[in-house]
């Protein structure tokens, strides 16, 4: 039951892209070990800039 709730929570976080910074850190640690990753705020602002540069919302 507890595990299920936890799964649901991580699904919700992923759907809302609430976990994107953690995912970025995980990838960064694997691919660029030793390089300082972006801070949470830098990452968030950069992502917003990227997201809204193309067509990301429809009619």
């Amino acid at each position: 039951m507890k595990q299920r709730l936890r799964n649901l929570w991580s699904l919700l976080r992923a759907l809302a892209s609430d976990d994107s910074y953690e995912r970025y850190l995980e990838h960064h640690g694997r691919a660029h070990a030793g390089v300082t990753p972006l801070s949470r705020r830098e990452f968030y602002l950069g992502e917003q800039q990227r997201k809204w540069t193309g067509v990301s919302r429809c009619c």
Partner: protein
């Protein structure tokens, strides 16, 4: 056993579709439509999409997607397919599938419903899945780039012009929908205004207080939005505040134009991004709630299956069933705009090629489902009430008595007292002539919600529905203005290089101003038009959206032929032919029809004649020259859009012909295949 189950689904579906098509009683239960839709989608997904995916696209589960090959932890990142499904659906689902069916309900519930089902299963879903797959094979390249790479520069240019045009018209028509929902409604206006500081607050929270904590910020924001709906009610009951927010459509149009400009030049984190999080939450929540409520309530559909207005005399928009039902309902059946999303962010997240089926075909099926619910919400109203809300004063008469007399004379009885009582229940001063679809949808949604979740809250539910629509219309408005600006900057950089710098403020201000002026013009004309403006702008939007779908289907068909799949080219070719016929036919009627409610030029002639003979009142005469010019401009625009479509079709046919003849064509732009096993080693 499995087979038996699917035979049962097919039989149930056939029975339900037959039921709604042949039913000729007073009313019909909405569950007939729901069951028919669910069965059609199930069959379409289980069999057709599987076949297209395996045979036509030759999806290869062993081939590494760009998300795997180019994984950068940010935009390229393999993501679970249900998560991508959620993101993709949130991106494609906008106000379109809610508005189109509401307007098309003037033909009765049957034509729109059938087109939504058939159009989605054979057209829209196939387009979305195919473009998503083709873009995944090309490292997430955009539709415009694919058109240029695979067909040539002509196709590429056409895609860009088409996208820019549709953006301008789309924003104008959506702006008009919001204005019509807010005019002389202090409650709605106050609530919609309040959403702006709420979004800014959430933006600051997400940047400064708790960076990137999207979930908690959204929950706070949604709570504040709900509070704003209640607060709007207090404003409505306060005599001084009420007067402050009781605005006419012209100042509201200027407000929307000003808002659009400011939102487009502000940094995204301040207004656009937080508003989008809120609107996505509201959108998914409300759609889910609506689906649950429809199933619990099982409302009776009061609109006849087919109304006499299929002959083209409809009050909401002029034009006969064919081709106009196919133009009016674009999103929900087939929407070219989706091809832009399917060739943008989504292909970079797909972890396996086989996911394209669930994400592309499945998301569009869900969007089509939203359109079906909008159709139910519109047709469960008394038809007389539906027409009274959605008809412009130029058609049914400006006074309440004139309007109810006209509408009742069509055989849809309605009284002024009934409309007055309804308006009072919804907390509005009047519901007459609230064109644009949002108010009638809100009345329908409010009656569904309140019958399931509390009858006393009718006015709250109504304004919740208005706020819900306004919030994501405003998101589309500033996101669209931004996209238009980027495209314009890209184009202008060929004229003068500095204009292409997306972060150079003079260029940002100039290009944003140009885009806003473009849609602001159409919005303003729509507001001063006594016929409501929607009847002009919505068909134009439909034609533009179908044009974009035509371009996407051309790209898909051309690529299929180039890959030696000529015998399967009908999969995208048949929807393409249909779109081309519908678009061309509709444009022809909009340009040459002598019916002033259909033909742009005929309407311009008639108005010019009246102006010359002095038959207009001074106020009418003052705006007449603008309206005449606009009708002629609309005719030119419709012709240009259709010409673009045919140019791309010709280009696609040229490339296909060369393939068949073995002549050289642009090489495939597919990224070289990398096997999954190779990537892992």
């Amino acid at each position: 056993m499995r087979k038996l189950l699917w035979i049962l689904v097919a039989l149930t579906g056939a029975f339900a579709v037959g039921g709604i098509a042949l039913h000729r009683g007073e009313t019909i239960n909405a569950m007939w439509i729901v069951v028919a839709a669910v069965c059609v989608y199930a069959i379409g997904y289980r069999f057709y999409s599987a076949w297209v995916s395996a045979k036509v696209l030759s999806v290869d589960a062993g081939r590494a997607t760009p998300a795997l090959r180019l994984n950068n932890g940010r935009d390229f990142m393999p993501t679970h397919r249900w998560i991508v499904f959620g993101h993709h659906f949130a991106a494609i689902a906008g106000p379109g599938p809610l508005i189109g069916p509401t307007l098309a309900a003037q033909f009765g519930y049957l034509p729109g419903t059938l087109w939504i089902l058939v159009g989605a299963v054979l057209g829209g879903c196939v387009q979305d899945m195919t473009i998503l797959f083709l873009s995944t094979r090309r490292d997430g390249r955009s539709l415009g780039q694919m058109a240029r790479d695979e067909l040539g520069p002509v196709g590429g240019l056409a895609a860009i012009v088409g996208t820019l045009t549709i953006m301008i018209i789309l924003i104008a028509v959506l702006g008009l929908v919001v204005v019509n929902a807010m005019k002389h409604s202090p409650w709605a206006t106050a609530t919609v205004f309040a959403t702006i500081p709420i979004a800014v607050l959430i933006g600051l929270y997400l940047r400064n207080l708790r960076p990137g904590r999207v979930l908690e910020a959204s929950l706070i924001g949604v709570a504040l939005l709900l509070f704003a709906v209640v607060g709007g009610g207090w404003v409505d009951h306060h005599p001084t505040l009420r007067a402050l927010f009781d605005l006419d459509s012209k100042p509201l149009a200027w407000f929307v134009i000003g808002y659009g400009f400011i939102a487009a030049v502000l940094p995204v984190w301040l207004l656009l991004a937080p508003r989008d999080y809120l609107s996505t939450f509201l959108k998914l929540g409300t759609i889910l709630l609506l689906a649950i409520a429809v199933v619990i309530m099982r409302p009776e559909i009061k609109m006849p299956a087919v109304t006499p207005f299929i002959d083209g005399t409809g009050p909401i928009f002029g034009g006969a069933l064919f081709p106009f039902v196919f133009i009016t309902i674009a999103c929900g059946a087939i929407s070219g705009f989706h091809a832009l999303v399917s060739s943008g962010t989504t292909p970079k997240l797909i972890g396996s090629e086989t996911d394209a089926r669930l994400i592309g075909y499945g998301s569009m099926m869900l969007e089509s489902c939203v359109a079906i619910m909008a159709m139910i919400a519109a047709t469960l109203l008394e038809p007389g009430v539906y027409f009274a809300i959605n008809s412009g004063p130029g058609v049914v008469g400006a006074s309440a008595d004139a309007a109810v007399a006209t509408i009742s004379s069509w055989g849809f009885p309605v009284t002024a007292e009934q409309m007055h009582a309804l308006a009072r229940e919804m907390g509005e001063s009047t519901l007459f002539a609230r064109t644009g679809g949002a108010p009638s949808l809100a009345v329908g949604m409010a009656s569904i919600f309140s019958s399931v979740f509390g009858q006393s809250l009718l006015a709250l539910w109504y304004h919740f529905a208005i706020m819900f629509e306004a919030v994501f219309i405003l998101t589309t408005l500033d996101a669209g203005t931004r996209v238009g600006r980027f495209m314009l900057q890209d184009a202008l950089s060929h004229v003068w290089r500095p204009l292409g710098q997306t972060s150079w403020y003079p260029s940002v201000l100039i290009t944003s101003g140009l885009v806003v002026a473009g849609w602001g013009y159409f919005l303003y004309i729509g507001v001063v038009d006594p016929n409501g403006g929607i009847n002009i702008l919505w068909p134009l939007f439909g034609i533009a959206n179908q044009l974009l779908a035509g371009i996407a289907l051309c790209v898909a068909t051309g690529i299929l032929v180039k890959h030696g799949k000529l015998r399967y080219a009908w999969v995208t070719g048949v929807p393409l032919v249909w779109i081309a016929v519908v678009c061309t036919w509709a444009t022809w009627e909009k340009v040459v029809s002598t019916d002033v409610r259909v033909g742009f030029l005929a309407a311009a002639e008639q108005l010019a004649g009246k102006l010359a003979s002095g038959a207009l009142t001074p106020e009418q005469a003052a705006v007449a020259p603008q309206l005449i010019f606009n009708q002629r401009l609309d005719a030119a625009l419709a012709m240009m859009l259709t010409a673009i479509l045919w140019i791309v079709i010709a280009d696609m046919l040229r490339v296909s012909w060369r393939v068949v003849k073995g002549l050289p064509v642009p090489p495939s732009s597919e990224a070289p295949a990398v096997a999954l096993a190779e990537l892992r080693s």
